[in-house]
Symmetry: C2
């Protein structure tokens, strides 16, 4: 267990590294033309965010015995790639806000958002290559598989919106691809850039898979119980859009009578009207699915921490443990 | 110069290789799930097309002393990447038809087209990696720069739609990025996968740059004088959309009086109504810009052929010369 003093130390390391990565990313779009392409890219990247994926790259590199500075470009690459998915997903999901700001297709237009998303992919590969040496084929392969999975995950997510029956298992497969896969990819790349060690790569990958699952279920949860000003997104937007989240699917398993009718209508009409958000919150509370989600998040977080027990580098291990708990306590 | 018998021989080689690449590409999407993602990918790739880019990869590899079969995956990769640009560009350009069939966003929907385009990029990298060995860093870098340039080109193209003044030079810079850059990338990759020879890479790249320019100007020309059933796209669509093509810009340079007013209105109202297409054809004819375009296409084609004069492998040289002339005579 980490002490409170250590907690502060790790937070400081995280914030320090985050600032460096932030600067590095924004610099990428300076002196590039046309502005019509790179201004929206910069705007997308300026939104802030937790930068978990790049931090995972750094910690995984440290776990494999490397310095943070050895993988800064790769760290930028995974964040660029993550933001490509956000820019395109926001178009597909009709999301108007992201981290409290207008999404790219709202600030500019859909065409600009499509194209700047595309160009974020290319910029991501550009940056990743800078940290590659003899291992480039393996690294690019891991990175590319990350994109494949995240596209598959997004496609499944869209499929589920129009499907009547989705099981919790199917939901978990979907969020694995949509959310966890890029975290796994980040961890793999960070470790593999330093050392071809199956043991370390497996440990950090499994860690990342588990925090990915926890992260997505918490996202579902925050959509219901979060505070709008802190969460940055509109609260209840999953409900309005008819997203079959962990909470919804769990509630659907448990509901009967009047509740069941409400949830059935949610499926039938692909979402609810704004006025019904409090009712759904109340149903979720009553059926205990808020607790279910919280338990699931804790289970995944504990499992994540278990995966890294045998990592020798104690600072890497502590940082990863800190990150898992930090994410557990997040409100945005 | 090539004889008529040789012409047939080269066409046959082209068609043979094209069939192989075709099969290879369609196989890529078998047994992949979800269908909601990979069916549209397959649909996009099934549209046919001239497959010039993969053929360029093959010929460039031969020019560098390699066998076609050594670069089949890379050939598939550049075609996948090209089709990603088509799928996304068709959304941005509101194009309803491509090669005589509904475009992906019309056949499915915009979201599906965005996502399947994204996944074509990942599939392209996947395939490219299969043909990489020690050179993977260089190859992936060339490929990535191709994507960067094509995004920049598309962004400039969109910019030009709302800009009042665009010079022929600016237009050429734009089509270089939008069209020629991917051909240059294909040629470079084909040659570089076989041999790190600056001489050969430069020769095939310059060749590709020139046929790229010729190709795009011919595309502009076919939009005016092509036959709809053969061209696959709606004739006059550039005029309807207010695209400042080579023909338009050349006409704008030359026009005066009533013609100038018509062309000014084209800029002001961002395109013309369908009924005005014959008038614009007539203006273009009268001002001689059809001839100007044809001359420009011939100049670029001749320049392309000149670049490859010193390539030692005579079959590669002959095939590339044949390809340049084949493209010159295309009607679709």
């Amino acid at each position: 267990m980490t002490t409170e003093a250590n907690q502060k130390k790790y937070l400081k390391i995280y914030e320090n590294e985050l600032t460096k990565i932030e600067k590095r990313i924004l610099k990428l779009f300076e002196n590039r033309f046309p502005d019509s392409l790179y201004e929206p890219c910069k705007y997308a990247m300026k939104g802030g965010g937790k930068r978990i994926r790049p931090f995972l790259v750094l910690c995984a590199a440290k776990a494999a015995g490397g310095k943070f500075s050895r993988v800064y470009n790769a760290a930028a690459a995974v964040e660029l790639l993550h933001n490509f998915t956000l820019v395109h997903d926001d178009i597909m999901d009709n999301s108007e806000k992201r981290r409290g700001r207008p999404t790219v297709h709202i600030k500019y237009d859909v065409n600009t958002a499509i194209l700047s998303g595309d160009s974020l992919i290319a910029t991501a590969y550009e940056q990743l290559l800078k940290d590659c040496s003899n291992d480039s084929k393996t690294i690019i392969d891991i990175f590319t598989q990350g994109i494949v999975e995240v596209c598959e995950g997004q496609s499944l997510d869209k499929d589920f919106e129009s499907r009547e029956n989705v099981s919790i298992d199917e939901y978990k497969q979907m969020i694995y691809k949509k959310t966890a896969a890029l975290l796994v990819m980040s961890a793999k790349i960070g470790a593999r850039l330093i050392k071809d060690s199956k043991e370390i790569i497996t440990a950090v990958s499994r860690y990342a898979a588990n925090i990915g699952m926890a992260f997505q279920i918490q996202d579902d949860l925050l959509d219901v119980i979060g505070e709008e000003t802190k969460f940055g997104k509109q609260i209840g937007s999953d409900l309005l859009e008819g997203k079959k989240t962990y909470l919804f699917l769990k509630a659907f398993e448990k509901a009967s009578g009047k509740d069941r009718i409400e949830l059935n209508n949610f499926i039938l009409y692909k979402g609810i009207n704004k006025v019904k958000i409090p009712l759904f919150k109340e149903i979720y509370q009553r059926l205990g699915v808020i607790d279910d989600a919280q338990n699931e998040i804790k289970l995944y977080t504990n499992s994540a921490v278990k995966q890294i027990e045998h990592i020798k580098n104690s600072e890497a291990r502590n940082l990863l443990e800190w990150l898992a708990n930090f994410l557990l306590g997040r409100i945005k």
